[in-house]
Amino acid sequence: QQQVRQSPQSLTVWEGETAILNCSYEDSTFNYFPWYQQFPGEGPALLISIRSVSDKKEDGRFTIFFNKREKKLSLHITDSQPGDSATYFCAASTGYQNFYFGKGTSLTVIP
């Protein structure tokens, strides 16, 4: 059973638009949700994260919205730039336990 699911698998937006990436999870004990950004040929970089005690986390153009009741979260990228084109992974964990990763959303931002 896949613990973390992401949608869509791929997303294309125009420069300046808001990209919305979705994530859902199964285990209600998960309490930490990082998003990673990965460019081709590189390792995943921690982009932004949220803990389950919060419902929103903002960092510049990146915002996580978290709905604990529905076990869903989303990453909003406002004013998307071509440099944001990458694969984005949602992950979840509980305390010191291992992370569960989604299969990623490939984002393309067209100039």
Partner: protein
């Protein structure tokens, strides 16, 4: 800041041979280190997890006999892929955790098996 180094970045080995890769966390005290393999389809597979004061725990489908890991401390870890075959190819990622939350990845070691 928190950085995780991995080397080599790329390696090619002949089928049936072995190769060793290393991981080093710099700038923070790692509380756990996890090794992952990312497939060409970008799916993450957890190989093993090491935490402070506990033994290395291998996930199903991965064994110590195939992927031995050693680390004098959690800031430095090495893993060997023994008798590598085509199905072992992929990007091997080391993730070091700071505290109970943030996990930082290295750039990965890309293994190609001929």
């Amino acid at each position: 800041g928190a950085l995780v180094y991995q080397y080599p970045r790329r390696t090619i080995c002949k089928s049936g041979t072995s190769m060793r890769m290393e991981c080093q966390a710099v700038g923070f005290q790692a509380t756990s280190v996890a090794w992952y393999r990312q497939s060409p389809q970008k799916t993450f597979e957890l190989i093993a997890l090491s935490t402070v004061n506990s033994a290395i725990k291998y996930e199903q489908n991965f064994t110590q006999e195939k992927f031995p890991i050693s680390h004098p401390n959690l800031s430095f870890s090495s893993m060997t892929v023994l008798n590598a075959y085509l199905e072992d190819r992929g990007l091997y990622l080391c993730g070091a955790r700071a505290g109970s939350y943030e996990q930082y990845f290295g750039p990965g070691t890309r293994l190609t098996v001929l």
